[in-house]
Amino acid sequence: MAYKDEQLHEEKVFKDPVHRYIHVRDQVIWDLIGAKEFQRLRRIKQLGTTYVTFHGAEHSRFNHSLGVYEIVRRILINFENRPNWNQEERLLCLCAALLHDLGHGPFSHSFEKVFKLDHEDYTRAIILGDTEICQILSRISPDFPQKVADVINKTYPDKLVVSLISSQIDADRMDYLQRDAYYTGVSYGHFDMERILRVMRPVEDQVVIKESGMHAVEDYIMSRYQMYWQVYFHPVTRSAEVILSKILHRVKRLYTEGYAFKFEPIHFRSFFEGEVDLQDYLRLDEAVVLFYFQQWAEEDDAILKDLCLRFTNRQLFKYVQYNPNLQMKDWMELYRLFDAVGLDSEYYLVEDSSSDLPYDFYRPGEEEERVPIHLLMPNGDLRELSRQSEIVEAISGKKRTDHKLYFPLDSIEALSDDIPEKKKILEILGR
């Protein structure tokens, strides 16, 4: 029997708090889960620094990847024998769903920004490179790894396959919304996924929703909106993220300037030098990063030491909301004052905008900007969701945006009252 058709003697199941059970029957899927590059995802948290705000948010990219696989598996059971669906693509969809986040690194968002990396490049590199994952996929056919990479990269010719993994209503989002809600313990993020799966239909090159399922989709769009503001863009989580980014900036600068580290940052060397090869990338996980933060808290450099202690012990920066248009001059003055009192503004006064954490709001957009969610009307026509749903129209119009300034209030308060700038700083910050 061809490897692609091989089935396990008996179905394996993973107990999962979100989907109850994750079912595996294909030998290929079982082998991929066992590959070391996939097991590495256990050591990367799904929500990065969110655990400092919601202590339950310790779930990993491993859990999420299995969840996305399970959702796609269930969708494909519903698609079997439907027009427009090519059952030959089943295994490709399942592999792409399972592996779609393979290239995420530790605290991905900050690492990508500071070291100018893109986890999608590493997902591709792991699938196509000298890895156990690539060996397994190649047993199906020599061009199979490339097909999986193309689906994840959204450049696979069959757009229907792509849209299962990545579109405005896809398995990835349906899993992370529910999973993140479960682990953070919030009450937003819930929607009737079973209903959505039942009303999904493959139509030409996209997945559409039967009009009768519109209200379930409205719920899903509302969850996305609420989870963004309540969980993903939580200001305390952002504070931890700001400190994390500044640690990485600081340590990179020290390395570039030839600083003599007490503890050599060997795992980071290629990141600092801008040439991160695949093996170096795979070696760095969150356990390693947190170990280094402990080591760097013992360094002589006062800024690095302080930032690492803050991150490790959750002594985070405070924040104020600001309007860069109305308060531009005040903030310019603030930067000057920080430097004057010896708080290096590059590390201790940080602006953070909602666009610094791009999150996929539902956007009907304009023609051919991005594919919106389409409803399949009883007469067979397709209609864009926000044109049919007043609720969706209301939240996909003008967006709320947000700008905050982060600073170490404790360090400012610790300054002597004799320093004239202290009063001025606190005044501008409204403290």
């Binding site: 959204k154 903030w331 310019m332 666009s355 791009p358 304009e366 051919e368 967006k399």
Partner: protein
């Protein structure tokens, strides 16, 4: 020198140099092409149904609107909504106060603005598949853009355009 909202300022510069941009898709592809030919834009792009798309850019544009630095004019078309953007006086003032670290971009923007969003979509898609060979890029474009029916002339024009943008 500290620059407040430096990525916003760079984007605002694109709106200012364009005087007016019609269409979100056109804006997306213009910034992507500028980024690919070496201008220091930091918005992260991923491939979507219609070519490279950046959620970060969409959000940043919304922020510029909400801050009052650009005006967004909505026009209802039969099947979709089209958006036009112009810099406001406040936006001009913000740009004047920002010390932008960006090479001269006006001429490139004028070249981009003259083209249709359909053509810019083709150029952006070709640039997305770099550094593959010319033949590989064309094959991939025809695969992912089957419905767009780009002709050989379109592809030839796009290669000349890319060359012009890079020099």
């Amino acid at each position: 020198m500290f620059v407040l909202l430096k990525n916003h300022a760079k984007l605002l510069k694109v709106f200012e140099a364009s005087e007016e941009i019609t269409g979100r898709k056109k804006l997306q592809k213009m910034v992507y092409i500028l980024k690919k030919v070496g201008f220091p834009f930091e918005e992260k792009y991923a491939f979507h149904f219609y070519g490279p798309y950046s959620e970060e850019l969409s959000l940043r544009t919304e922020e510029l609107c909400n801050l009052g630095f650009i005006d967004e004019i909505k026009e209802k078309k039969s099947n979709y909504t089209q958006y036009r953007y112009q810099v406001t006086d406040q936006g001009e003032m913000f740009l004047k106060e920002s010390t932008l670290d960006m090479p001269p971009v006006d001429e490139k923007i004028a070249t981009l603005k003259e083209e249709s969003s359909r053509f810019l979509e083709l150029v952006a898609t070709m640039l997305y598949f770099e550094p593959a060979t010319k033949a590989e890029v064309e094959k991939k474009v025809q695969e992912v853009k089957k419905k767009s029916n780009y002709t050989e002339e379109d592809l030839a024009k796009a290669w000349t355009f890319i060359d012009k943008m890079k020099h």
